[in-house]
Symmetry: none
Amino acid sequence: MHEKQKAILDATLDLIAERGFHNTPMSLIAKRAGVSIGIIYHYYASKDDLIHALFRHVKAAFAKSLMVNDLQELPPPLAFRRIWLNAYEFYRSHPQETLFLEQYEHSPYYVHMSLAGTEHDELESEEIFAQLLNMYHRPDGDSLLKDLPLIALYTLSFGTAARMARQGIVQASSLDHEVLDSIAAACWQAIAR
Amino acid sequence: MHEKQKAILDATLDLIAERGFHNTPMSLIAKRAGVSIGIIYHYYASKDDLIHALFRHVKAAFAKSLMVNDLQELPPPLAFRRIWLNAYEFYRSHPQETLFLEQYEHSPYYVHMSLAGTEHDELESEEIFAQLLNMYHRPDGDSLLKDLPLIALYTLSFGTAARMARQGIVQASSLDHEVLDSIAAACWQAIAR
Amino acid sequence: MHEKQKAILDATLDLIAERGFHNTPMSLIAKRAGVSIGIIYHYYASKDDLIHALFRHVKAAFAKSLMVNDLQELPPPLAFRRIWLNAYEFYRSHPQETLFLEQYEHSPYYVHMSLAGTEHDELESEEIFAQLLNMYHRPDGDSLLKDLPLIALYTLSFGTAARMARQGIVQASSLDHEVLDSIAAACWQAIAR
Amino acid sequence: MHEKQKAILDATLDLIAERGFHNTPMSLIAKRAGVSIGIIYHYYASKDDLIHALFRHVKAAFAKSLMVNDLQELPPPLAFRRIWLNAYEFYRSHPQETLFLEQYEHSPYYVHMSLAGTEHDELESEEIFAQLLNMYHRPDGDSLLKDLPLIALYTLSFGTAARMARQGIVQASSLDHEVLDSIAAACWQAIAR
DNA sequence: CATGAATGAGATTTCATTCAT
DNA sequence: TATGAATGAAATCTCATTCAT
């Protein structure tokens, strides 16, 4: 990726996180990124295209931050907690990314995303979560997890991590390690059989 | 509230739920509501003001739907489930309201809401939730709940109800009663001591 | 004139003096006057009509303040100074009226005023000035005044009084009696033969 | 200054002189200037900003027209008359500018001008006038002028020139050279000791 | 690759005026 | 007389996008 592309994505991220989609004109993105409007249109076909590209970029960075090499070798509760905390930490240390994702995923942009060339389930991050949960969850055999819909398991575990982190960002508060451990434990309790 | 105010709020809700904030011009709201643009500005100072007012309106309706008269008389786990299901049902039966809330609460509108005259903790709905959880949760005495931050308890209980309902709306799928009971039970398990 | 008419004219005067014609909506006039918009249209056919009526009202008040009964009996230089100071005092003690007149008389409103039913030379105040100057000024006979166009005489005498007063209003400064006397004397010197 | 900026200022001047501030929509300015509305907002932040800029532009042109190289070398009364006539001629030969100035300087725009970034006494033209009068006027030493406030001297001299010219424009009449000389002489008589 | 002046459709907002009550 | 909700044409202003350089 060119240096200018990076600058454009960074500027877009910051501005949308603070001001929202419709309050972030292309001209402001160009100014913040220190580039011309023209060059933005050289790399991205339209504003929507830029926003969708930014979403994929941020999602990929998030997925990367969750990567744990030796997941298979850890005992299940530990593997679970490792990823839970990784997700939490990513959100807390990337507030702009978090605020952007919040808006994007809860707006009509997301619902209509597949029209823009990417399917929801092509996203790496979702795949990683599903992979982890599926490690424990075999609906038709012996499972370490309760027999609940995948989305319920997801919400009660990683969804909670995300929410806790986002809350901390918006309210500028934070939780200490001990409390986080308790919450992670409660999540495990909710989903473990 | 005047009849036209109601028509304006209804039209705004429908349009924003379907099209998003910035794809919903005032002219379209006026047309859908069957009123003139001018009268909207008679009741609301600006588009933003209208959106904030709509949020308060929807939130109040939601809070009202949660009201249960005999909460105090029910045994704790039953009282919990009663409200959990009420919240779930409200979302499932009010998809427009739900989609609107999704967008609003995850956008800069929500973060900047206090600028519009209402503080987050002034919202009736928040108060009702806090009230219920506090029924069980006495940090310094005997509590039925785990010793976790209020926000964690909230997320693991009602937050989950909301998410499940919203997911159902977006994906046009639905969960049967048995499954809902299991999820409610898992929530209770997560937060109960 | 009804009490409400007076309130309307007063409100209009204040608002236009402070905000200008185009920044003074009828709704604001109504609010400031403590009446409904409807009643304004009962008394005045349009906003322009109201403004023209206000002009005539203010001009008449001004003319009235200049009245001096025994002009004919005073020696010329004294008569001159009497009116000069009256004009100055009116402006200084009626800043809103003055600012309104400034705008009105230098805007296209004034140029097009005759279209609204009043001719410039029908104005009482102009008549009084002309009368005074004509007392001294007989172009074809013996005159106390220089042989200059009436408008030049007017500008060098009363025009100066007006300007000095207006300057004082805008800059919130004021001149003491002695200085005013000197200026009045200089004016007389300019026009007297 | 870009060519389009000039076209915009010219169009604005013509239209406001003829129609007044509030009867001159931006769309009309754009059409008259042969440019798009957008480009006006590229150069000027708002309609008010455009109007203030136009005022500074016209005032600067006026100041430039008064410049006389050898003022110091002329005998005082001649130097005075040179500038007096220059001012008169500028107004007579620039009716649009004159009508615009009339409206602007007698409206709240002028009073609020300092809010727009320019102080009254920063105007070149004012400086030139003050400079000239100060050449003759030393309050604490020997002066050729009467001991009057600067503003009085200004009004009795250049103020009169401006008024005479403006009157001629509005009434489409004009004064011959001989009469102008008499008026200039009367002005000098008013202010000279 | 890169710029940013230029466009103009369309957005938000204003406000003189009307009219049912 | 008196009200003020209601209208909608028209105003100001925004901004995604284009294109000559």
